[in-house]
Symmetry: C2
Subunit: 129 residues, 2 copies
Amino acid sequence: MQAQRHSKQRDAILENLCSRYDHPTAEDLYFSLKPQIPALSLATVYRNLAQLESDGKIIRIESGTTKRYDGNINLHYHLTCLDCGGVFDIFLNDDCGLCQKAAESFDGKIVSHSVLFTGYCPSCSKQAG
Amino acid sequence: MQAQRHSKQRDAILENLCSRYDHPTAEDLYFSLKPQIPALSLATVYRNLAQLESDGKIIRIESGTTKRYDGNINLHYHLTCLDCGGVFDIFLNDDCGLCQKAAESFDGKIVSHSVLFTGYCPSCSKQAG
DNA sequence: TTCGTTAACGATAATCGTTATCGTTAGCAT
DNA sequence: ATGCTAACGATAACGATTATCGTTAACGAA
């Protein structure tokens, strides 16, 4: 296995992702970084997101058709708004014993977990209900 | 809005899905039903899965690239095996207070939730670890 | 500092799951 | 039986992601 080389593009992608809280798609990041790195290719964004994810530096959110990414790797959950389609963070103090209970009732090995809520975000729930 | 009509295809899809526990993809169901309904079209499978899902009769599992479906609509969670790629059921008695805690700490409205564990299924965890 | 190796890049073609289109079929109310 | 149109089957289109390939640049060794 070869050493991973440093790259401006990967740095920029990670930095951009960690500085925002809207859980962008690969394309969102691409357009966000394009002014800063005009020669950037969308393929490079996908490549680096995959790499950063397998390195455990970012999180992939499986929400609907398009994958979204999160630079916050601390334990937290997400909610997809049925109205605006946005993805929002939900911070709990712990996992509510979910992993322990799951480990007790499942005859396999649990490595990680993710929770995806659906509902209405603060803004949309105030407007309509 | 027009009334939903009955169709053999939809019946067969729902029945097939409810009789199995492997969380098949649309294509899995298509090939499974093809001998029984030779004229079946893959588009029909997709159409009916979407309809059954919006009717609340089945559940869609967002696991990786391909959507999978589950005929069991009772509360339970899933685990994706990192080894074999299969999706397995995890039954807990309740949601461990997840929804309540989330509602308390989130200024929006929560409608539903899903939990996806990753790890190793019983069979794969016995073989390797 | 220069050189050689090759990881990573940019551009773009290919892939693949899913959705849309459209002419035909069949469920069901009249 | 007849008419209306939801649902069908076949297939084209779509969109997100991945693979390919020639070029560029990171970085260890000379």
